[in-house]
């Protein structure tokens, strides 16, 4: 039962080996196709045998994902994939366990479990498809929909403040937090690979377009003309530079972030040098808050820190107990405490 390294006798798997025989049923043009394609593309590079990979999901368009991967897969119930994945990983720590979830599945009905899998640092990789809408139920408000948004369930505009998934994950002290965009395929592959390699919980938000119920939700970040000015790609231990001509940067002013133009007395050395391995999550949180129109949206890895995982600590406690007390003896356990014997003649001793 214990998985081993990929058997050398088998030919190296290809992208096609990770595609199941099921017909993909998302709407044509849905951003989910890109996420599936990038996932199938990176899988052969991870060096993990197919049989040791499990994709777990809740309910939603995004949660159909496991059916399309030729690995083990469990399409469960709405919001609970994180809890089910926790059980799988704890029971069978050798498996590579992935959770595919949506903004509603992961942050509305499953918000509680999301918080707890992140803070526990269970070694599970979570990919949250953020289309800022409920796709499968045909277009209601989601917890990431913007204030004022008109949807089927908010005909005169949403009166709710949205949650920012990356801020949520950082606040829960997830040990790996990243953001990618469905249309930035090479970048997404990089981010997914980094998540896979991280030991501990990994949370990846993917900005995904639902072309049926919330088309264009992320267009302002996708337009070829302006996207270099609207995105800043986080590069660890490098100054935060962005812009079409790489002529702008982000710097700290007190404890506020601001955009600075390079040249005219400002050089790269004045900019914020971002370090994703910093255990103090304050700066990561500050960056994640950015949504101002004049400020670029950070993508890439916000946080990648080392901490013991829940599943590893659990296994360790068991190993230590067994080393100390020996493997449990049922006989000793049952025949313990204060006992007495009734003899055949009925007397007790």
């Amino acid at each position: 039962m214990t998985p081993t390294a990929p058997p050398t006798a088998r030919p190296a798997p290809t992208r096609q080996d990770f595609a199941s025989d099921q017909e993909v049923r998302w709407c044509p043009g849905c951003g989910d196709y890109s996420i599936l394609a990038q996932m199938q593309k990176i899988m052969p590079d991870l060096g993990i045998a197919r049989e040791n990979i499990v994709f777990v999901s809740g309910i939603g368009c995004s949660s159909r994902f496991p059916y399309y991967m030729n690995t083990y897969g469990f399409h469960t119930i709405h919001g609970r994939a994180t809890a089910i994945a926790t059980g799988i990983k704890c029971a069978h720590p050798e498996l590579s366990v992935w959770v595919m979830t949506g903004d509603g599945d992961g942050l509305s009905i499953g918000g509680n479990h999301m918080l707890h899998i992140l803070r526990r640092n269970v070694d599970v990789k979570i990919v949250l498809f953020n289309n800022r809408i409920y796709g499968l139920t045909k277009g209601q408000l989601s917890p990431t929909s913007e204030l004022g948004k008109i949807t089927k369930s908010t005909p005169v505009g949403s009166i709710e403040h949205p949650i920012n998934p990356v801020s949520f994950a950082i606040a829960a002290e997830a040990t790996f937090v990243a953001r990618a965009i469905d249309s930035e395929t090479a970048h997404m592959q990089e981010v997914l690979k980094r998540a896979a390699m991280h030991k501990g919980v990994a949370f990846v938000e993917i900005l995904q377009n639902c072309n049926i119920f919330n088309d264009g939700a992320w267009d302002s970040l996708k337009d070829r003309e302006v996207k270099s000015d609207r995105l800043v790609n986080l590069q660890s231990r490098k100054p935060l530079v962005f812009g079409k001509n790489r002529d702008k940067g982000i710097r700290l002013n007190g404890y506020k972030l601001e955009v600075a133009s390079l040249g005219s007395g400002v050089s790269e050395s004045d900019l914020l040098v971002y370090d994703e391995t910093e255990t103090d999550s304050s700066l990561a949180f500050l960056l994640s808050r950015e949504g101002r129109p004049d400020f670029p949206v950070p993508i890439g890895v916000f946080r990648d820190v080392v901490a013991p995982t829940y599943d590893e600590l659990l296994s360790k406690q068991i190993a230590q107990a067994q080393a100390k007390k020996g493997p449990g003896s049922l006989k000793d356990l049952i025949y313990s405490g204060m006992r007495w014997t009734v003899k055949a003649n009925g007397t007790s001793v």
Binding site: G87, I334, V342
Partner: protein, 617 residues
């Protein structure tokens, strides 16, 4: 040695009695549960059969001396085989006025009341709502009242102890216990040993508590209050090694045993809730048995993580009580659909909603049997006694794995906290639980069923070539692919129902106590076994004809049950709800069934059941 001096002092006549029921009552802070447990151990060692029932407030530290703060412990012991902690106590030991007030109504006529008279001062009387001192106003004339100045006597006995006054005063529950030990001729040794172990860090505390116990004993021996004492002869229990055990403890041992019999590691996911938390506490200690416990963020996560563990090949169990069981229902439906083994233990308590958390009830039966969306059949089992929780935990795991299905194991607060002597099983006699994981990729189909049990294969991720996808969407027969085909759905609904029905082939023939046909049959389930069985015994002892059947398997019912029911003119179902088993029996067999129903957060007394039987015959 205490036992010697004890023998030397025994100079008052001994009366032989066959059964005694004592209730200890006092403030939750008075050490009532400890006194009760100690008396239980001493009684077990004296060779009596026994049954116990603790009853304590939900508040952790209710105000001292107040009515809600009263904590009780009842024990019944006998020279013959008994099945309950007794109906009305013969003796009430009340450590304060509140304890007297709360428990008096349960005391049988002419019952004995032993009180700590020192605690009947104005302030305590007021807290208990007494206008006059009941020890003095004649209101207790119908009883045998024995006031003892326990606080003062205890203080005097401990005059030489170096402990503070407050610490010495805390020993008084052992003083009182010593009196009762003399009165019922119990050996002191188990309790002396207990004190030595419990307070090992402080020799002064050991000495003071041991002195209090012995002084109480000697006081009773010498005082003129007691002219004789009582002895209950050893019970004729089947030979073997015994220990006294609560339902929570034996259930945990059963789960660990099942894990070993199945050679499959145990995963236990749970969220704390009274009265189910003890199982989580106990299992968390058993890490060297490879037990993985997971305290989840709520009951939904607890059952979901448990389903995940089952999917990944563990023997997966989640435990809770009613409100938590309600939260788990959607996920249990997933396990029904995915056909994964899962055991859900529901230690029922009085509901609905938060209800009365520390009180017992059997009102979650329908929730377990049918309380899910869709046609969602599961196996439902219920242990009969605290010790029976061991066997039924193994049975639940065995059926879950064999039929690839969720199994509900319905206990309750009374079973979980109550105790009885348990004849320790011969481990070699426990049957292995065969577990096999599909491994052959060529012949593998996720929903290919075993022709006999209709179970699908259990596949554990990690098996090369068997990668498959499942979920809560309807499955195509055999392949397990997602299917919306109307005919397929209907067939799958029937297959899942039939699979549960086939569990009946694993249920042993139903034992009928008494004649197999006649005028009246009682049908009981779960923790009411003791009261119902005893009541039937009593009526039969009078030469009247009445029979009973106790169900451990409720879904499905045993195959022979219908025939048995039809052989009686009247079927009576006593249960601690408004008639849930009755409804299921009527639905299944279309027979008229009479109910005896009680919902007071308390078990049946034998007398209540007996009275109903006598009304009907």
């Amino acid at each position: 040695m205490a036992t010697k001096s004890q023998a030397a002092n025994n100079n008052k006549p001994v009366e032989i009695v066959d059964r005694v029921t004592i209730r200890f009552a006092g403030d939750s802070g008075d050490g009532i549960q400890i006194s009760g447990n100690q008396f239980t151990m001493a009684t077990a060692f004296a060779g009596n059969d026994l049954g116990t029932m603790p009853d304590y407030p939900a508040e952790i530290r209710a105000p001292a001396g107040s009515l809600p703060g009263v904590s009780n412990f009842q024990i019944s012991f006998s020279e013959s085989d008994i099945h309950t902690p007794g109906d009305a106590p013969d003796v009430l030991v009340a450590m304060n006025p509140a304890a007297l007030k709360v428990n008096l109504r349960d005391l049988g006529p002419g019952g004995t009341i032993i009180v700590n008279s020192d605690s009947f001062a104005t302030a305590n009387l007021k807290k208990a709502g007494y206008e006059a001192n009941p020890l003095e106003d004649g209101s207790l004339e119908a009883y045998r009242l024995i006031p003892i100045a326990i606080t003062q006597l205890n203080a005097k006995a401990l005059e030489e102890s170096p402990l503070s006054k407050k610490e010495r005063d805390r020993c008084k529950n052992f003083y009182a216990l010593g009196v009762i030990y003399w009165l019922y001729d119990r050996p002191l040794q188990t309790t002396l040993d207990f004190i030595a172990e419990k307070f090992a860090k402080s020799p002064e505390t050991v000495a003071a508590n041991q002195t209090a116990l012995k002084s109480g004993y000697n006081f009773a021996d010498t005082t003129e209050i007691f002219t004789s004492h009582f002895r209950v002869r050893q019970a004729q229990l089947p030979p073997g090694e015994y220990r006294n055990i609560t339902g929570s403890e034996s259930l945990v041992l059963g789960l660990v045993a099942a894990s070993q019999l199945a050679e499959t590691p145990l995963f236990y996911g749970s969220y704390p809730i009274t009265p189910a938390s003890e199982m989580l506490h106990e299992l968390a200690y058993l890490k060297n048995f490879g037990v993985r416990t997971f305290q989840a963020e709520d009951e939904i996560a607890a059952v979901c993580a448990t389903i995940g563990a089952s999917y990944a090949g563990s023997l997966a169990v989640t435990g809770t009580s009613g409100p938590g069981a309600a939260l788990k229902s959607e996920a249990v439906g997933l396990a029904v659909m995915a056909e994964l083994p899962l055991v859900v233990v529901n230690v029922q308590r009085a509901g609905p909603s938060t209800g009365m958390p520390t009180k017992t009830e059997q009102a979650d039966l329908l929730q377990a049997a049918v309380g899910r969306n869709g046609e969602c059949p599961v196996v439902v089992l219920a242990p009969a006694t605290p010790a029976d929780c061991f066997s039924m935990a193994i049975e639940a795991c065995r059926l879950a794995v064999k039929y690839m299905t969720p199994v509900y194991l319905m206990t309750d607060g009374y079973l979980a906290n109550g105790s009885e002597p348990w004849r320790l099983p011969d481990l070699a006699s426990l049957k292995k639980i065969p577990v096999s994981h599909a491994a052959d990729a060529k012949s593998f189909e996720p929903y290919q069923r075993d022709p006999k049990t209709l179970a699908r294969p259990w596949v554990v991720p990690g098996a090369p070539g068997l990668e498959y996808r499942i979920g809560g969407l309807e499955k195509a027969e055999v392949t397990g692919d997602v299917s919306y085909d109307p005919v397929n759905h209907e067939r799958m609904v029937h297959l899942r129902a039939e699979k549960i029905r086939r569990v009946a082939q694993d249920i042993p023939p139903t034992e009928v106590f008494g004649e197999t046909s006649g005028q009246l049959l009682l049908v009981s389930w779960g923790s009411t076994f003791g009261a119902v069985h005893s009541a039937v015994e009593r009526v039969r002892a009078k030469g009247k004809k009445v029979s009973s059947v106790h169900l451990r398997h409720i879904s499905p019912f045993p195959a022979d049950l219908g025939q048995i029911l039809k052989s009686f003119e009247t079927v009576l179902v006593p249960e601690l709800n408004l008639g849930q088993l009755r409804l299921l029996l009527r639905g299944e067999y279309g027979l008229p069934v009479v109910g005896l129903n009680k919902v007071q957060g308390r078990p049946f007394t034998i007398g209540e059941v007996q009275q109903k039987i006598e009304e009907l015959i």
